[in-house]
């Protein structure tokens, strides 16, 4: 029997069941411990970045190469016919899928990956479509949480910073709600978690509260998930005020639980003080590294009926 992700499009985290998520996490764990070279033997992956995203692209391309596959593609569509000559994404997807065994794509418009998947003859993996979805970020976050806590079940997770516009935190909160986690949302009122997400959590019976006191929340938490406060959304005095309230400083970590880890999707600007990096709680660089394992796991599962490690 083939694995449930074999030849599947990976477009939105909500398309994945609990079993699917656990399969990816489990496979990522094995790949981190062992060696998956050869799992993409003779496979060609098209890495199509219609807008630049160096971090995501390098992570995917490293994942392909570490499994012994090869990569074709582009890192910015302004230099390709798709961008320059006005080719539709639909036509690009038909064409590219005739060259490759899978397409990894990032695109500035919402819905682009789903649309491409309707025209592509090979699986499409969404590496970000505008402000909509970025499922591999959520997968690497889940893998990192499972790795540091030994479980996803019943954890207490604080989300800090821009919770209004951050699709990363929306997707992660929704995924963790499958595991009965409890949330603390720490954000300025202007950037608080949107109502539609909160309603969704209410419907699932998930416990959460909103707070503006980061230091007080830390001792309760298993995971503190930091995000970037975008300076351009505020005037200077406002920003200073928020920054002092929602910047993680090393002295706030006294009293944290031993198992607590600080995560951040990176790039960090100044919402985590550099001194935090030297504490045992900092896990954001390891989290970025885990991105390669999570993407390796996904590619291996999508392109192999069976993955034995």
């Amino acid at each position: 029997m083939s694995n449930p992700l074999y030849q599947r499009d990976i477009l939105s985290i909500s398309d994945l069941s609990r079993d699917d998520l656990e399969l990816v996490i489990d496979t990522a764990k094995k790949l981190k411990e062992g060696d998956g070279y050869g799992l993409l033997h003779k496979k060609v992956i098209a890495s199509c970045f219609f807008e630049p995203s160096t971090r995501t692209r390098l992570s995917f391309e490293a994942a392909v190469q570490r499994l012994g596959g090869s990569v074709i593609g582009f890192s910015d569509s302004s230099t390709t016919s798709a961008g320059k000559k006005g080719e539709t994404l639909a036509d690009s997807a038909v064409m590219i899928s005739s060259y490759a065994d899978a397409i990894v794509m990032r695109h500035p418009q919402e819905g682009a990956a789903r649309l491409a998947s309707e025209f592509s003859s090979v699986p499409v993996i969404n590496g970000g479509d505008g402000s909509n979805q970025h499922p591999t970020q959520t997968l690497l976050d889940l893998f990192t949480i499972a790795e540091t806590q030994g479980t996803l079940e019943g954890l207490k997770v604080a989300f800090v910073g821009d919770l209004k516009y951050g699709r990363t935190v929306h997707s992660l909160a929704q995924a963790l709600s499958l595991y009965g986690c409890e949330f603390i949302f720490l954000a300025p009122d202007e950037l608080s978690m949107p109502d539609y997400i909160c309603r969704d959590l209410d419907e699932r019976g998930i416990q959460y509260r909103k707070s503006q006191d980061l230091a007080a929340a830390i001792p309760e938490c298993d995971i503190v998930y930091m995000t970037r406060l975008q300076r351009e959304r505020f005037d200077e005095t406002e920003f200073k005020q928020f920054a002092s309230a929602f910047v993680l400083r090393a002295e706030m970590l006294f009293g944290a639980k031993d198992n607590m880890r600080v995560m951040h999707p990176l790039p960090r600007v100044d919402e985590i003080e550099v001194a935090v990096d030297r504490t045992p709680y900092a896990y954001y660089f390891e989290q970025a590294k885990n991105g390669v394992y999570a993407r390796q796991a996904l590619l291996a599962l999508v392109l192999n009926e069976e993955v034995t490690l």
Partner: protein
């Protein structure tokens, strides 16, 4: 000739959209748009129903409304009914309810949605949300209230 016979004057073959919520008839006509180009259309606004309420009514001669368009109409006036007329008789009558999927009749409200620039028809799933009816775009996954949908 009484007022009543005037407003429901018989057609030989076609579609009667009846029991449209009063005031929604104009929006539905706009939705029908090019679909009814060259088609004889009779319209009644603010007609009295037997129960004393007001309704709008639209008769299309010579066309049977497609499912997709009927779904669009259902979203604007869920209480409307669709009568297919053959040989001056009602051959089929159904109340519309609210379709679970709407295809091709409305544009996505998200201006950055890929459906605007690609060769595809718009697709929405319809969700009831605390008395409001919401459309969720198949592509960009954004949801918005039915009331915001421009016809």
């Amino acid at each position: 000739m009484s007022n009543k016979t005037l407003s429901i004057q018989a057609i030989e073959f076609g579609t009667v959209i009846d029991h449209i919520e009063a005031g929604k008839g104009a929006e539905i006509l706009k939705l029908l748009g090019e679909y009814i180009e060259g088609v004889p259309v009779t319209v009644g606004f603010n007609l009295h129903t037997q129960s004393g309420r007001l309704k709008d009514l639209i008769k299309l001669e010579g066309v049977i409304l497609s499912e997709d368009v009927a779904d669009g109409v259902s979203l604007l006036s869920p209480g409307a009914s669709l009568n297919i007329i053959e040989d001056f008789k009602v051959a089929q009558k159904r109340s519309l309810g609210i379709a679970s999927q709407i295809t091709g009749t409305f544009d996505c409200l998200n201006s950055n949605c890929v459906s605007h620039t690609e060769p595809v028809v718009s697709r929405f799933s319809v969700q009831a949300d605390e008395g409001d009816i919401k459309l969720r775009c198949h592509y960009c996954e954004k949801s918005f209230s039915r009331d915001l949908v421009a016809v």
